[in-house]
């Protein structure tokens, strides 16, 4: 399988803390890769490193063939990112924010794309509301929409469904699996193991910044992911 994400010995230090420790990883095209790990294990830092939001202390990574260290903006041009904490600008409306992102990403026909996402995630009624007045769930829908607005082939998703209601969770899961079936790739970080077991094709487990396991969901052979995960991180 053609790799779209590759990292070798990726390390990130914050002072004396090693948030990511010599992490080597390869994610192939068409995978829905779930990155699992306890709080503070390095999941968000890894996503930030792979999308060029942070510079690694050492090691290297390429995303869709682009060197993350040399061209971080180039990487972010190709991919979509849903950050862990939603940060749409307070004083733009939901619709204006999608226009803003669409403008930065230089996409055409932004009006129609907005309509599609408002309809799919069922928040058209809030399109004229300021982002600061949106509920957390609606802000998360908005961040989901902005990540897909330019129809990327690879999306990084950090805790995507945590504030969403069950109906929209289903829509999001269906969209992600459909996206992968259509040839897209998803790098997905979550605490919610049931979702990972349900939709991921392959998982990686990170603890104390180290990737301690990689494998396909099929390898679990009927075991619960929760039991497997707890054994790994507690062992």
């Amino acid at each position: 399988m053609q790799p779209v994400i590759e990292s070798h010995g990726l390390t990130k230090r914050f002072g004396s803390l090693k948030a990511v420790d010599k992490l080597s990883l390869s994610v192939g095209k068409g995978e829905l890769f779930g990155l699992l790990g306890p709080n503070g294990s390095g999941k968000t830092t890894l996503i930030k490193l792979l999308t060029g939001q942070l510079k690694p202390t050492s090691g290297d990574a390429t995303v869709m063939g682009v060197d993350v260290l040399k061209d971080p903006v180039g990487v972010r041009r190709f991919v979509g990112v849903i950050p862990e904490q939603e940060t749409p600008p307070s004083f733009l409306t939901a619709e204006e924010y999608l226009h803003f992102v669409g403008g930065i990403r230089e996409v055409s026909g932004i009006g129609k794309r907005c309509d599609k996402w408002f309809s799919l995630l069922q928040f058209g009624g809030q399109r004229h509301m300021l982002c600061k007045d949106l509920s957390r769930g609606t802000r998360q829908k908005l961040m989901f929409a902005q990540a897909f607005i330019h129809e990327p082939r690879l999306v990084f998703v950090d805790e995507p469904v945590i504030n969403l209601d069950p109906v929209v969770q289903r829509t999001v899961k269906d969209h992600l699996t459909g996206f992968v079936r259509g040839g897209g790739t998803v790098f997905f970080s979550t605490h919610v193991l049931e979702i990972a077991q349900e939709i991921c094709t392959r998982i990686g487990v990170i603890n104390h910044g180290k990737l301690i396991h990689q494998g396909s969901i099929g390898e679990l052979r009927g075991r619960r992911l929760e039991d497997f995960f707890l054994k790994l991180v507690q062992g």
Partner: protein, 471 residues
Amino acid sequence: MALQMFRAMMKEEWRLHAVMFGGHLFAAFPVMIAFFAFLASLTLPVFTLVMPLQSMASLAHLGAALLGVGAGSFGLFGKEIMNRRFGQASLIAYSSRTLPVSERRIFASFFFKDVLYYFAFWIVPAIAGFAFALPIVGSFGLVISAASLPLLVISIALAFLSGLSVIFMLSTIYAHSLKLLVATLVPLAVLVAFWAISGFSLERTFPAFAFFLAPSMAMLSASLAIIIVPAALAFAFLKVDYPERSRQFRNAFPSLTHRLRFMREPRLASKDLLDLKRSEGGIGKLIFSLAFPAAFIWVMLSLLVRFMALDFMLLFSAMMGLLTTSVYGWLTEYDVFSTYAFLPIRISTVLRSKVQTYLLISLLPLVGLAVAVLLKEPHAFLPSMASFISVSSIALAATVYLTGMQTNILLYNPKILAQYLLSIGSVLVLMMLAAALNPLYLIGSLVFVPVSAAILKRAYARWENMEQPAF
């Protein structure tokens, strides 16, 4: 319980600033205030040539009252800014919904915590700096008795608390109704206008200052009444939730970006303008933050300029150049880099766009200034314009270089503030020396424009290479 909450809030305030400034540099803040008060006090012998000592004391009291107003105003704007910078900021002040403590008790702790912090970080250091300068100014013939210092501490504290209490009351009225606030402010404005027309007698109308001039129980009581009555009313009718309405807007983005298409990054500029327009205070806060200090500088310079060998408008233009950089502070106030971090955009592009938006907005004070110069001192037109352009460009470049997108946080960092003041101060001194020789020499100060452009270029590279904090 009340004491426990107060102590927790004191800790929280300390940690909040320690996080923002990185480490414990916040602790150096009172030292810096004392140092600048010391330096400013050293100029007293010169200033007493142009202004009676009593007038300077009145300005110090007025300044303390304005500091109180500023401290209280954070109640109006603070939550919006904090939420933007720290997500849904969860300070103890907002915890009445989750803890079995009344809003009144929480706010009382918050109020007293703020009073104590401002007292320790501003008032006491400022007076200490002044006290250290007394022996030096005394050797220049300006004898001020050290015995007056305790009285000064009390009267300045009274002035600060007066400003804080009045703004606290006004913000409580605002929390109930905007209309009620307007109905309160209009007669208050009439009263101030009447006071201004009838001759600005601060010693008769401002009890804190009157108490400093002639301490008496009557004046102390009057000062305390001005503090206690508004504060008591505010506590009695306390309402923490401001009238936040869920506002809706039609999509202004396409038309605004179209109108701004002559700019390099019309989308970023549109976002900045919408931030300014829709945040608390609207565009009015920008105008107010320029017009109010400009009027103050105008009055001060009118008093001082007859003793200086410089045209009034030359000095005023330079001061306006400095003041206009506050626009850049507003442009960064509601923005955080984490908004852009995951998009294909560089921080240098965001900064460049903010500089361009600043240049666009600063055309307004430039035009206003040009009209004022033509009306008042037309012969000084060219050097005045050059003075404004040079000072504003170098001050902007220094601001962007030193503070990037966190202007109103990093300028509280003592080290950065000192670097800023030294860089701007040295340019201002050079320019004023040149102007004293010949006002036309100020046209040569335009050399600072390409220098500023070079500093800006370095600033963009500097911030590009720096990892951005999440706030």
